[in-house]
């Protein structure tokens, strides 16, 4: 078996729209993947407006508010980490060698645990 990463893209308008109506479809998909042992990890991200982009291409580490949006660069990898604060998460991003020649977008993952 090989691992595959499925990357989900949509527009900002669709991102912010209410998805309550289609929740059963998401739940059904996740449940069946889990039952068949095919699911490694999945998550819903907070809005792209909560993103912070980290890069050191200019020589110094710079933070930018918002998602990464230059289409010339391509996705090459990912980390999912646990962190107490954005500063901790950015601290990890700063250690990724790629920031010298690319960008790392740090995006909070929604906490979907119900009370």
């Amino acid at each position: 078996m090989s691992q595959y990463m499925l990357l989900l893209y949509t527009t900002e308008e669709e991102e912010a729209a209410d998805r309550t109506a289609e929740m059963p479809m998401w739940l059904e998909l996740n449940r069946s993947l889990e039952e068949s042992g095919l699911l490694t990890a999945t998550g819903r991200l907070h809005l792209s407006t909560t993103a912070t982009t980290v890069s050191a291409i200019s020589g110094e580490v710079e933070l930018t508010d918002g998602p990464f949006a230059i289409t010339k660069e391509v996705l090459v990898g990912y980390y999912v980490i646990e962190a107490e604060t954005l500063d901790q998460a950015v601290g990890v991003a700063r250690r990724i060698p790629l920031i010298r020649y690319g960008h790392v977008e740090v995006r909070p993952v929604m906490d979907l645990r119900l009370e």
Partner: protein, 422 residues
């Protein structure tokens, strides 16, 4: 999401002393109360709403029951209880139970320690670092800082930055959402991060000041309010971080500029250099305050960009400026912030200290830089130096370039006058 109102609009019609007390408490205590509450509830928006509830409660109960002995403590306790009420009603918060338990615990425990000066100081310092966090857009940092620590309403901030109130409101809401969702921390950065983060905070405060100081048009009065807010923030930072040379340096720089606010433009709205200003319109008390702050900064023996700029400004305000020393300070400043503006100013200062030829030598590399090809002040300075060096043809050519690049009518008229006078 409550839009804010200024204290005055809330209190009209109340008895005078109680109403004055609420207005005063709004002006003097709001930032501290909000800062403490954000720590307690861990959420910017909830804290703001609860603080607003507390002021509304003060308006109802102070005229009836009298003004409490410690208004800040009263407002903090009241706001915390309103936050508890709001959290109990709001089921959408993920870690609601934990937060509620923590708040209730605080409400039972903290009465004794609530007015402790040190914790209030720490809370406001934390809040400044949150508002000026580098992961937020710069315009959002400015707006949040003014909103949370300066006590301006969203409408006032929008007006001062010449954008519509809904636009500014959206900017602030978005920033608060990011703070909550991305867990931008509410704390003073660790020692190794502190210098860089503090630089970011000072930059935001100076940006606010310059936004007001550069206003010369019709909106001038409203925008100049930003200078006062920035000075207030500078005074607050001085109180919170009295051992930092740059905190004092920035305060000195702002005070020395602010003291000359009334004299900085002529009737036509043209900017006047310090030497051209009417000294009788300078605010002597403010200048003294600025010089004292500069002295404190220098005594901390850690020169930085703001201290150097303040020292340069102070020297330029002398009747007979010491250009040699000004040029030396600019050389030190170029090492710290090698921007085109600083390099240009150094060339001008050296031109006065060592003669126009020395100034022209320093200007040469800037004139070759393609990035500065359309930078009007460069050509105006070039023209001045050439004129003083006796090169009238060269000066005329430089003035003509400066005139072509000038976007401002008043400035263009002045440059044309200088060209004619050659």
């Amino acid at each position: 999401m409550g839009t804010s109102r200024s204290a005055q609009s809330w209190t009209c019609g109340l008895s005078d002393s109680a109403s004055d007390a609420v207005v005063r408490a709004f002006r003097d205590e709001r930032a501290a109360v909000l800062a403490t509450l954000i720590r307690h509830v861990g959420d910017f928006q909830l804290a703001e709403d609860a603080v607003q509830d507390a002021y509304a409660a003060a308006i109802r109960s102070w005229p009836r029951d009298g003004v409490p002995a410690n208004p800040g403590a009263w407002l903090t306790v009241t706001a915390r209880r309103r936050a508890i009420d709001r959290l109990r009603r709001d089921r959408s918060v993920a870690d609601r139970a934990e937060r509620l338990a923590e708040l209730v615990r605080l409400d039972q425990q903290e009465h004794r320690t609530i007015s402790e000066e040190s914790s209030i100081v720490d809370d406001r310092l934390r809040l400044i670092f949150t508002c000026c966090h580098p992961a937020l857009d710069v315009s959002a940092r400015v707006a949040l800082t003014l909103r949370a620590l300066g006590g301006l309403t969203t409408g006032e901030i929008a007006h001062a930055f010449l954008v519509s109130e809904p636009t500014m409101g959206k900017r602030i809401v978005r920033a608060k959402q990011k703070i909550a969702a991305a867990h931008i921390p509410y704390k003073v950065p660790r020692d190794e991060e502190l210098p860089e983060r503090l630089r970011g905070v000072l930059r935001v405060v100076y940006l606010i000041f310059n936004e007001g100081y550069s206003a010369t048009g019709g909106e001038r009065l409203v925008r100049e309010g930003l200078c006062e807010e920035a000075v207030r923030l500078g005074l607050l930072l001085r109180q919170l971080m009295p051992d930092d040379a740059e905190v004092w340096g920035l305060l000195a720089l702002m005070l020395l500029h602010d003291a000359r606010r009334a004299a900085r433009v002529d009737e036509q709205g043209r900017y006047l250099a310090i030497a051209e200003q009417d000294r009788s319109r300078w605010d002597r008390a403010r200048i003294l305050e600025g010089l004292r702050a500069l002295e404190r900064s220098v005594r901390l023996r850690h020169p930085g960009e703001y201290q150097l700029q303040a020292a340069i400004t102070a020297l330029q305000m002398d009747e007979e400026p010491d250009w040699r020393q000004i040029a030396d300070f600019y050389s030190a400043l170029v090492k710290l912030t090698p921007t085109a503006v600083v390099k240009l100013n150094r060339a001008v200062a050296v031109g006065f200290a060592d003669g126009p030829r020395a100034g022209l030598d320093l200007l040469a590399p800037l004139l070759r830089d393609p990035v500065l090809a359309r930078y009007q002040p460069l050509y105006a300075a070039h023209a001045e130096l050439l004129k003083r060096a006796g090169d009238r043809h060269g000066a005329a050519r430089a003035y003509q370039t400066a005139i072509q690049l000038s976007a401002n009518v008043v400035e263009r008229v002045e440059l044309e006058r200088r060209l004619r006078d050659l």
